[in-house]
Symmetry: C2
């Protein structure tokens, strides 16, 4: 039997063994999705803490239902290891490791490289390997393939197969989870695509095949570039609208009354999360290799970079109306999560604003119902304070940075002396003149 | 009875007389919508040809049903005049005149100014005046109001009322016409807003009130800026994708499989029509008065400006593969309308590409089933040719510039020697290698 027939057969009768590299917010839900469908899954994770948690049936990802997690880990369908030599036990390997940017906005491919090296060293012949991490187009063919071929001495297309299938995890999305979000699949060659469709079809309801890994790589970047560009556009328009005495949120709601051809984006203190502020710069990176400047992404990036400083100015000039300087004023930030109702502060614009105003001498504290402490990129640790009447009343300025739906806005507005509202949190309440300043 | 009570009473019992200034693709459908609801409408139009056509019951706007047009003009509910002194016969005046940009992309406000002067000279006390033309925020308050007050000697808010309510006409849209497209209404002051809501409510199914004319002005610009920016973004990504051997249309279709957070835009040879390429530059104009540069609009404008030249290059290098120069080659363009299935070539990118390649010595012809002749911005007149087998076979290159749905793509592909496809017209057909070049 050929290697291809062998893996297709194992997928068909559910005896395929799937290895997931990286058990974070992408890998772990995917591992659970496979295990729920009775596929044996082995998670590979450098962090002994995470691997140990999985093996102890302890769920650490909010988007996974505890009951599902306990069922698949309890039954042994999903287990985890820090021993990458066990890669050889798997028929299929799915890589879901981080692809951050370094501080010069250059892609940090080290996690993908390390995964490919481990796979190349330990995989058995006839393995299928898929990458899910967001990266620049051509990565699968031009970056992954040479590493795996070099480490394994095997040949892509005959000894192993490659695929790119971008994760579309939207943390906190109540409707769309790993299993029911349509998944784009771009195998390298017809056999790789056949294996990819059969394998992912076990765990994902709807697949969308494309003609190549590079097309699939581009899809994910297009989706998030669209968001970066539109959020940046509305942030820029919001800053102008403020100068023109126009409430941009009113304008957006009115534009939404157009029944076609418009999608609403909302301004804020910057763009956060681990996708939208990063992904477009992968494309910018590879584009330079083609002597191509992506001017829209560049302009969007500039706006996004400047937003925290503009928010600092907004706070400084709101205080100025109360004849107070930033230096020595008490500023209470409400919300450090990068979007509402989640517990994730990665790449959060709130942190950048906090850091800036602290640097100018402000006495900064924050409240977030979901995040008891955060560490900013310079290693400063911040502990959340209570949203007590006293804390509100003693603050020279309260800044809304995340729109958590559980916040009692009326109470905050009543108790606070001065508010800078970067999220249109204050609406439908009586607003004292000169008390609330919007973005 | 106060002037306010008087006009509100006339609206309530359908005896209000509405004057529409400008009987183009915005004004005439609106005039018909009012007249259909039994409101007496008088159209003011500089062009005696257009006014004569209305009075002769001859419809010249494709989006108006002939039966509706004949009914309201035949009954006398709608008539037209070139005599602006008859403005005094009207209780309400709605301005729907062009707001083009001059060749330095500066707003040409002369049509609005002329309308306001005529209204100021001839209106009776207690008139309501609404502007529908797309323009920069603050126009109603800071541009219209002073002209009308100066010409009339009357006072806004007591002697007459002002409103901005942007047109949302989408030529060729089968579902949304003037009557059933929700309409944003921004009166200046509470009385103006009350009159505007009552009056427009007669003809339009759904109104969306906003707090000020400037908010309403901003709404329209936001809607079209969103479109300009996104089309420019996808054009830029398409050019990069071409270099990377990625089919951008495949990528867009795959991205659409994401069930939230994405809206598809498609690349093309540039951006046409009388709204999207113009409206954002109104905002750019006023922004400069606030010492504010709109970097996203600027980047988008640059991409859009360059597209015709890039398309010329695409054609030149496609010919080059056949060892032919542009100079002397026969190029047949298919489609000069700015979007599919309409008969409007205003601001059409096809014309710009035709002009450029003709300037390089190409022998240019075009076919468009809806447009028998066009005049480019330099006054050159072009006559459509038939899409005969001979014309196709004799062309050195056939260029798809508009995706009219009635075109027989298979036949064109079979007959043509070389195709440059800027619209993804060629799909689902067998493509000879080296015969079709996509954007």
């Amino acid at each position: 039997m050929s290697d291809f027939d062998s893996i297709m057969g194992k997928i068909a009768n559910d005896s395929v063994r799937v290895g997931i590299m990286g058990l974070g917010y992408v890998g772990l839900p995917l591992a659970v999705a496979f295990a729920k469908k009775n596929i044996q899954v082995l998670g590979f994770e450098k962090s002994a803490t995470k691997a140990g948690a999985v093996n102890a049936c302890k769920n650490y990802i909010g988007d996974i239902k505890d009951e599902d997690f306990i069922a698949v880990t309890g039954s042994g369908k999903l287990s985890a290891t820090t021993d990458f030599s066990r890669i050889g036990e798997c028929d299929a390997l799915i890589i879901a490791v981080p692809t951050p940017l370094d501080k010069f906005k250059k892609p940090d491919m080290s996690y993908i490289a390390a995964s490919c090296e481990a796979i190349g060293k330990h995989m058995k012949k006839g393995s299928f390997i898929a990458l899910e991490s967001t990266t620049y187009p051509t990565t699968t063919e031009d970056f992954m393939k040479p590493i795996i071929e070099r480490e394994s001495g095997m040949r892509e297309g005959s000894d192993f197969w490659l695929c790119f299938s971008p994760e579309r995890v939207d943390p906190g999305n109540k409707e769309y989870k790993t299993g029911n979000t349509p998944k784009v699949v771009g195998g390298l060659g017809k056999e790789a695509q056949a294996i990819a469709m059969a394998l992912y079809g076990k765990a994902i309801e709807k697949l969308y095949p494309v003609s190549s890994p590079r097309a699939a790589e581009m899809v994910k970047i297009l989706e998030n570039t669209y968001r970066l560009v539109n959020i940046s556009l509305i942030n820029e328009l919001a800053l102008l609208a403020g100068k023109m005495d126009i409430n941009i949120w009113e304008v957006i709601e009115a534009a939404k009354s157009k029944p076609y051809g418009f999608q609403a984006f909302y301004p804020g203190p910057g763009i956060g999360g681990h996708c939208i502020p990063l992904d477009p710069f992968y494309l910018e990176y590879i584009a330079k290799g083609f002597n191509f400047d992506l001017t829209m992404i560049n302009a969007a990036g500039n706006i996004n970079n400047l937003m925290p400083y503009r928010m600092m100015n907004k706070i400084a000039f709101a205080l100025n109306r109360h004849k107070k300087p930033l230096n020595g004023s008490k500023i209470l930030f409400i919300g450090v999560a990068y979007k509402p109702d989640i517990d994730d502060a990665r790449e959060s614009p709130a942190l950048l604003v906090m850091e800036q105003v602290a640097r100018k001498g402000a006495v900064v504290s924050y409240h977030d119902p979901y995040i008891p402490q955060v560490i900013d990129e310079h290693g400063n640790r911040w502990e959340a304070v209570e949203l007590s009447d006293q804390n509100l009343a003693e603050s020279d300025c309260v800044v809304f940075t995340t729109n958590h739906s559980s916040l009692d806005i009326d109470r905050i507005v009543n108790r606070a002396r001065l508010i800078v509202d970067t999220r249109n949190a204050v609406k439908g309440v009586h607003i004292e003149d000169g008390k609330v300043y919007k973005l």
